[in-house]
């Protein structure tokens, strides 16, 4: 929480973004063959890939739920995704993030349709640049849709934070490392329902409220990007299917 680095100059952030500006987002749907659904997503310098398997038989049996599908969510950082090599395997941070992400999806996945099964969501961080869990949730949301898992709606996610005393959207790594606070949220954009919320650092109540508004607005933008990616994908599929049928 040092503030030696000047993060805002002339009203712009170091990477030229305005306070309420997202990093560029790139989405590819259906990138993996073995997975039932998948998505590759870039959020600034974050590179993340999400895969979904299921609903399928749940092991071990005692972990089954007789009334609904059990959602498993595994957030994992590749060893080379960070400046210092990350030892393979789950650490405390990734266990907590996996829990928060799983809970972010529980309100939308129609789990009651698939009792006794498991729906498994795997998120691999290939390159990290702060906001990894939000990138992971956004990608997972699309991978779930790509897998055909019935959902009430997509989940969209973004972080806000405080740098140089200002509330700004979607911190990158330099901002996160030198900022005063970071607050990732996930929400069902269409109904303005927040399904994940964490806060680190120090914020006044007013800053918190301002930040929340900023994040909510950005989630609507992300939702549109997610929808567009899915629609494009389905049109492709439809076209290639139509083509095949014509031939």
């Amino acid at each position: 929480m040092k503030e030696e680095i000047e993060l805002i100059k002339d009203g712009k952030r170091l990477d030229g973004r305005g306070f309420d500006e997202l990093r560029p987002i790139k989405i590819e749907v259906g990138v993996l063959k073995r997975a039932d659904g998948s998505c590759y997503l870039e959020l600034g310098d974050n590179k993340v890939i999400a895969a979904v398997y299921g609903p399928r038989e749940m092991h071990p049996r005692h972990a089954q739920d007789a009334k609904m599908a059990v959602v498993k969510f595994r957030y994992n950082m590749a060893p080379f995704s960070t400046d210092d090599r990350k030892r393979p395997g789950p650490d405390r941070r990734s266990v907590e993030i996996s829990k928060v992400c799983r809970e972010a999806f529980n309100p939308v996945i129609m789990r009651e349709l698939y009792p006794k099964t498991g729906i498994e969501v795997y998120v691999e961080l290939l390159q990290s640049d702060a906001g990894t869990r939000t990138a992971g949730i956004n990608a997972a949301s699309i991978a779930l849709a790509d897998a055909g898992i019935p959902m009430k709606d997509l989940v969209s996610s973004v972080a806000v934070g405080k740098i140089d005393g200002e509330m700004v959207l979607d911190l990158n790594a330099v901002e996160d490392n030198n900022g005063e606070a970071d607050m990732p949220i996930a929400m069902i954009a269409r109904t303005n329902t927040i399904t994940a919320l964490q806060m680190d650092g120090r914020l006044t109540k007013e800053e918190f409220e301002r930040g929340l508004k900023l994040a909510v607005g950005a989630c609507h933008q992300i939702y549109e990007l997610q929808r567009t990616a899915l629609v494009t994908r389905y049109n492709q599929n439809y076209e290639s299917k139509s083509k095949r049928e014509e031939e």
Binding site: V95, V100, A181, M183, I194, L197, G201, K205
Partner: protein
């Protein structure tokens, strides 16, 4: 199996009560159970506190040992927060390495202390890059009757406020107290049937779709938040939870810290 059915019945009971504006134990929605904080209960620890909120019973012990700093912060001491949900404390807890619940509990408490900058980590440095104080905050849950987060966070800050730096043990001289710069207090609220309840009992915790822990400081700023549970919340509900969090934290701080 049997347990699950019992839990379902209890959840229904709690929800019905809440719809009628009531709670199992007769409390108001914004009312805490009785709180007690007993300090310096463990001789071998450099700081300790046993916190009861109703029947919830959490013992926090803080050990301070000499160690080497992290390479990227050579001039700062180290705080390590750990929570053990030992099977003594609940029929739901199992032996084994920390699971997601104990990890989340530890990390939320840790976050509040770090966010508030209550401890000046620079003051824990003895020799840059070589020797710093390592502060181990160990949360030992004894009886889980709901709202572990608030009890654990309160135990942690109460323990830290009475911390004795064990200079003599390592042949060092210097101040044995650590001036604390803030007193973060966690307040957990849950959403049940559209209502916001503070300090959930065990059954209320199970019945709630969402739970939010808000950690706030002496000046009313926030130094940590965590939503958990499988439900969604509206912005207005979160705002209410933050409001309650700051208000109740002030009351608890005034009475118990």
């Amino acid at each position: 199996m049997g347990l699950e059915i019992v839990n379902d019945v209890r959840t229904d009971y709690v929800c019905d009560l809440v719809k009628n504006g009531k709670r199992e134990d007769g409390r108001g929605f914004r009312e805490y159970r009785d709180i007690s904080v007993e300090r310096d209960v463990i001789k071998r620890a450099e700081g300790s506190a046993r916190v009861k909120i109703g029947d919830t019973d959490v013992l926090v012990g803080v050990k301070v040992e000499l160690g080497t700093p992290f390479p990227d912060t050579p001039d700062k001491g180290v705080i390590i927060t750990n929570a053990e949900l030992v099977p003594l404390a609940s029929p739901e807890f199992e032996s084994g390495p920390p699971n997601e619940n104990s990890i989340q509990l530890a990390r939320v408490v840790d976050r509040g202390i770090r966010g508030s900058e209550a401890i000046d980590l620079d003051k824990l440095c003895i020799e840059e890059g070589e020797k710093v104080w390592m502060v181990f905050i160990d949360i030992h849950v004894l009886d889980d009757n709901g709202n572990l987060a608030d009890a654990a966070a309160l135990g942690a800050i109460a323990s830290l406020l009475n911390l004795r730096i064990p200079n003599e043990r390592y042949g060092l001289t210097g101040e044995n107290t650590l001036p604390m710069r803030d007193t973060p207090v966690a307040v957990t609220t849950v959403e049940i049937e559209g209502n916001i309840l503070v300090d959930p009992s065990f059954d209320e915790g199970n019945a709630a779709a969402s739970s939010v822990t808000v950690i706030s400081n002496a000046d009313g700023t926030l130094s940590g938040m965590q939503k958990s549970g499988s439900g969604g919340l509206k912005e207005a509900q979160i705002a209410e939870m933050v409001e309650i969090g700051i208000e109740k934290a002030g009351e608890i701080r005034g009475k118990y810290l």
